[in-house]
């Protein structure tokens, strides 16, 4: 397998660039994934494989969702993209627009994967608030040792999450 190239794609070219790559032999959609940036934007990553020539490429496009921007679905190019987009839509609260103009949903009354965008950074993870972080332990220190009083920041818990312990 060749080196992994990555290509930044303008949102308006998202579907066209994916289609162009499919025509060039990248006809296997490996995965589609989402990353939330510090800026509040979302970067979509699509990993495409060309099994015949053992090539692969990563397409990346970035959308700012607070403007109400909607992401065009890749399902007209890769039917399998639909499942990944449904995951992305339910777990990150993103809208994917199908070729007929409607927004991708699970099709049923209930969400298929998650009812809330649990992978967004502002979504507080209950187990991280309900449980004490095991990293606060200071093995070998007496219970009244001053270093035990030092408060350690719990890694990965944004300050916006309500603290469960003080």
């Amino acid at each position: 397998m060749h080196e992994l190239d990555s290509l930044t794609v303008a949102p308006t070219d998202w579907v066209d660039i994916a289609r162009a790559h499919k025509t060039q032999g990248f006809d296997y959609l490996d995965f589609l994934s989402v990353r939330e940036l510090d800026s509040g934007e979302f970067t979509l990553t699509v990993h495409l494989l060309d099994p015949t020539n053992e090539r692969r490429i990563m397409l990346e496009g970035t959308w700012a969702t607070e403007d109400g921007a909607q992401i065009p679905s890749l399902s007209e190019v890769f039917a399998g993209a639909r499942w990944h987009e449904l995951e992305a839509s339910e777990l990150f609260g993103l809208d994917f627009v199908l070729p007929n103009g409607s927004v991708l949903t699970s099709g049923g009354n209930e969400p298929f994967i998650a009812s809330e965008p649990a992978l967004r950074s502002d979504y507080a993870l209950a187990p991280r608030l309900d449980n004490e972080w095991p990293g606060t332990n200071e093995p070998g220190l007496a219970p009244d040792h001053p270093r035990r009083k030092r408060k350690r920041a719990v890694p990965g818990n944004p300050a916006t999450w309500e603290p469960a312990h003080d």
Partner: protein
Amino acid sequence: MTNQSSSSASETGDVPERRRGKIILDAGACTSCMVCVRECPVWCIELDANKVHDPDAGPRGKSRLELTTFKIDYGLCMDCGICIDVCPTDALSWDQHTFPGQPNRAGFTPELS
């Protein structure tokens, strides 16, 4: 294709060589530094240790930490391997074999120390 482990499956028979089965601890190498506990993204490692005096360390003595508890909750562990990567003494490593199924939730948190 992207699955590198499929080729090595035949070399070892049952399980691929680089398979992430379960994590094993070399308790003798562990210094109770807590790095793995603090880096684990799902908080599934629990560690405690006692301070003990090392009688061989000369007249002034020297203390070291002796593990009393080292548990990984395999019901929560997502096999990310971060704990293994960050351990400064290489006390943690992969075992190819997965942790076996258990009749109850508590069974997934064995004592490794």
